[in-house]
Amino acid sequence: MMPEAGHYALVLALVLALVQAVVPIIGARRRDPALMNVAASTASAQFMFALISFGALTASHMVSDFSVANVFENSHSLKPMLYKITGVWGNHEGSMMLWVFILALFGALVAVFGGNLPATLRANVLAAQAWIAAAFYLFILTTSNPFLRIANPPVEGRDLNPVLQDIGLALHPPLLYLGYVGFSISFSFAVAALIEGRIDAAWARWVRPWTLVAWIFLTLGIAMGSYWAYYELGWGGWWFWDPVENASLMPWLSGTALLHSALVMEKRNALKIWTILLAILTFSLSLLGTFLVRSGVLTSVHAFATDPARGVFILAILIFFIGGGFALYAWRAGSLKQGGLFAPVSREGALVLNNLLLTTACATVFVGTLYPLALEALAADKISVGAPFFNLTFGPLFVPLLIAVPFGPLLAWKRGDLLGASQRLIAAGLLALAGVALVMAWSWGGPALAPFGVGLAIFVIVGAVSDLVERCGLIRKPALALKRARGLPASTWGTAFAHAGLGLTLLGIVCETTWSDERIATMRAGDQTMVGGYSVRLDGFAQRHGPNYREVTAQFAVARNGAAIGVMEPSKRNFVTRGSATTEAALMTRGFSQLYISLGDLSADGTIAVRLYHKPLVLLIWLGTVVMVFGGGLSLMDRRLRVGAPRPARSAKALQPAE
């Protein structure tokens, strides 16, 4: 009964979405409040049914109801309960259910909290949201239905894949989807604005926080996926420029651009048309990401779906929404009023530069990801575009962006003072130069670019801090600093944290890629090897039994300068019943650096292949993203309305205003 109720709830959600897609638009055109209000109540009801449906599927997984084909194919009665639940979205059908569930959730949030929106805007936004929802309900029901049943249920399910039973992999998709789908809100707002032919202040006030929420989740999702790959796949890499990773990076880049342009729009009423375009672009890239991963067009690490019918359907959705969005844009963008003038050197100007570089960088990733597919389709040549391509394109575009980052917040709105901003960044610049010199001296003859990378990271971090110091007046009036710091808007703190986080991540990336030390050795008990200044001795092996596997564990004693500092125990697990093996790497954290050991094959003569890494400051890569997310959160807390006041040219020096 439960699966059938869930199935019917999904059908009802589709029908309600269809109602929600049509009635409110008519209502908004005819200005009928009752018809417009249908949007809010259907959005809430649609969410309720999506919840019932998703809940029924989850419950079926929890009780191992193998009469549901999806449960039979992707679960097993012996899975731990946690992985029975996370297994719901570990497969194609279930993950699409999660997708629409989150979509419905965001729609309901707009319905509930959108009371302060103009009624027509709210109606149009919810209608646009319902179009997306309807398309995906239809996709699920016709090509990826998770509620298909088996008349004679088998006694046991099929899947108990040990590699997928990992908490990092389990949490990665929901976070990523919260990000992807969150951008649907800004898309719907953009479509609504185009339908109405105007963007008002309420529009800007809404779009930025929603974009920020989506951005926060997407950032977390990407970081978690990267960390999972790092510790689970056993070769210590954290980013592979794999198409699936790129599919999530592209919306992140354009979403970051959107975040900054929405800021200009909110505060200065400028860049309206560009912001609309970015909103459409960002969600289009999210849809593209879904398409790439879900259609099986690239068979890659996330390869679950390889059904052409699905691929074609998602492609149709993709073309409909991207094509429709851009067509609407081309048709209606001219009717939007341009506003807000600014000089090229100003906060707006800096944000435009940020947008320009971010979108261009995004475009290069786009080319690198889709070029092989296009080439294969057109010329039947198979190529792979790997890290070297992206290092040569993405890298050079990001360097000027990073140099510009500290300047942005120091420039005034409307017309800025580049000289003044530079003066305030003198400390950061000097520290960065000192860093470059120091690193150069230390690694003389090493990689030529790395010291500059470190210098750039220091510049970004110290630049973010000096912005704060400046605004608190820590140096000029230390007595008042604390009071002023408390008075600073949360969004100012947010900006500083997010930018500093970016610098931290960069520092981690530069150090890890340049000074990572790798040893691959065959060792036998008693052997010793050096990696990154640590001496590592293989003491011996132990056999252990886990709940459903046997493992060989190797004990390594780690010492530095003769002093023992710990034991590391990487292992190789054999899952007996399935006959599959996994490698469990051992990690030892020293400050922000890590030692990383993973095992290869054990030979008959008692030697074992071992992969040892020393990864200096590697943790900063993820710590940086966490700091970025924290900054985003702070900025989200800031419930102030934002008005960007230009700084009067005359009194700039005398008053030293904070914002």
């Binding site: 008519i26 009928d32 009752a34 109540s41 103009p118 019943t577 960007g644």
Partner: protein
């Protein structure tokens, strides 16, 4: 019954979600407007100024700009008041009341299977013993072993059952686990070799052969391993060697050994066909080509026999397999056609044939 009740309840809720806003009294709609936001912004500038966050000059500039926007917004804000559309509302209401249940009902009946009850694990565990099948018992044992893979006795018991069920890959795994936990014995290795051989449609693969040799290394008299090594020799075309092995086994075998007839049959097969013997020393030096010729001769003879009497399903399967192994797919497919033609009258044998062919990887 309860299912239909719940579905009806959900439908009512969905219809209500559409009807509710339509029927509500048109009170003052809760709505934000642009002017309200600008007024808020003006207020905020004052607060920031008071808190010392912005300077007086900056506040003035901001105030001017917001006021300008406020005026523009007040001018532009649509004067057109709400225009109730009674006819439209009624149309939507009727559509929701009739169309929504109809569409969702039709769609669900097309996609769903309302008659099928849920079947969670807990209920299954209490299902009556009548449904207990061998499959189910095996499943339970497998489940236990999944949790406790070091239960050597479990693997030992499970393996032969899996063999009988024809689940050769699982049987291979079970036997490997049994060897790993219980230690290697000649019997276990021989069983493993047999499982591999069965999994390969009766061909003694190199892997299977290695297992049999392993078994013989542990116990030179392991019957099964010796028999299959003989079979390996036969399959490789070394019929003389095969006959030698089997004859030696027969000589040693006790008179009441149950496998005597099998050995005799096998021996008759190779000797009858290939006329082996010690005196044919020339055959020892037979080249590969000659050996291949001999094999082809045997296959031809089988084919001729089957053309005369087409009712022997095993014979057909053997013929098809032989052609497949010789790499002559066309002939294999042709003989599949012949076999089907010969067996059209006999549905039972035809089915047997088709199943056998599936095992060979040829689908009907």
């Amino acid at each position: 019954m309860t299912l239909w009740f719940i579905l009806a309840l959900m439908t009512v809720a969905a219809v209500f979600a559409v009807l509710w806003p339509l029927g509500r009294a048109p009170g003052a709609p809760r709505e934000g407007s642009e002017t309200a936001i600008y007024k808020d912004q003006l207020g905020e500038i004052e607060r920031d100024l008071a808190a010392g966050l912005i300077g007086a000059g900056e506040a003035e500039a901001a105030r001017t700009e917001v006021s300008r926007r406020l005026l523009a917004a007040a001018d532009a804000s649509p004067v057109a008041a709400a225009a109730p559309q009674r006819g439209l509302r009624r149309a939507v209401a009727v559509a929701a009341l009739i169309g929504l249940p109809f569409v969702s009902g039709a769609l669900y009946l097309k996609l769903g299977t309302p008659g099928l009850p849920a079947f969670p694990l807990a209920e299954r565990a209490q299902a009556p013993a009548a449904t207990e099948s061998l499959d189910r018992l095996v499943m339970q044992v497998e489940a236990r072993l999944e949790k406790n893979p070091n239960d050597g006795r479990g693997w030992e018991v499970l393996a032969p059952v899996l063999m009988r069920l024809g689940r050769y890959p699982d049987a291979i795994k079970a036997l490997r686990n049994s060897i790993a936990t219980n230690g290697p014995t000649a019997t276990r290795h021989a069983d493993l070799g047999e499982a591999i051989l069965m999994g390969a449609n009766g061909v003694v693969t190199a892997e299977a052969k290695a297992e049999f040799e392993h078994a013989l290394a542990l116990d030179a008299d392991e019957i099964k391993a010796r028999y299959f090594l003989g079979l390996a020799a036969e399959q490789d075309g070394r019929t003389r060697e095969a006959a030698g092995i089997w004859r030696a086994m027969l000589a040693k075998a006790p008179d009441d050994a149950p496998w005597r007839p099998l050995l005799q049959r096998a021996l008759a097969r190779v000797e009858g066909v290939a006329a082996p013997s010690e005196e044919q020393i020339a055959a020892a030096g037979a080249s590969d080509a000659e050996r291949g010729e001999k094999v082809r001769g045997m296959v031809e003879r089988l084919a001729t026999r089957l053309r005369q009497d087409g009712s022997d399903v095993d014979g057909w399967l053997r013929l098809v397999r032989a052609y497949m192994v010789m790499g002559d797919r066309d002939k294999a497919l042709a003989s599949v056609k012949d076999a089907r033609a010969a067996l059209t009258q006999d549905a039972g044998r035809l089915r047997q044939l088709n199943e056998g062919l599936k095992g060979l990887g040829i689908d009907g």
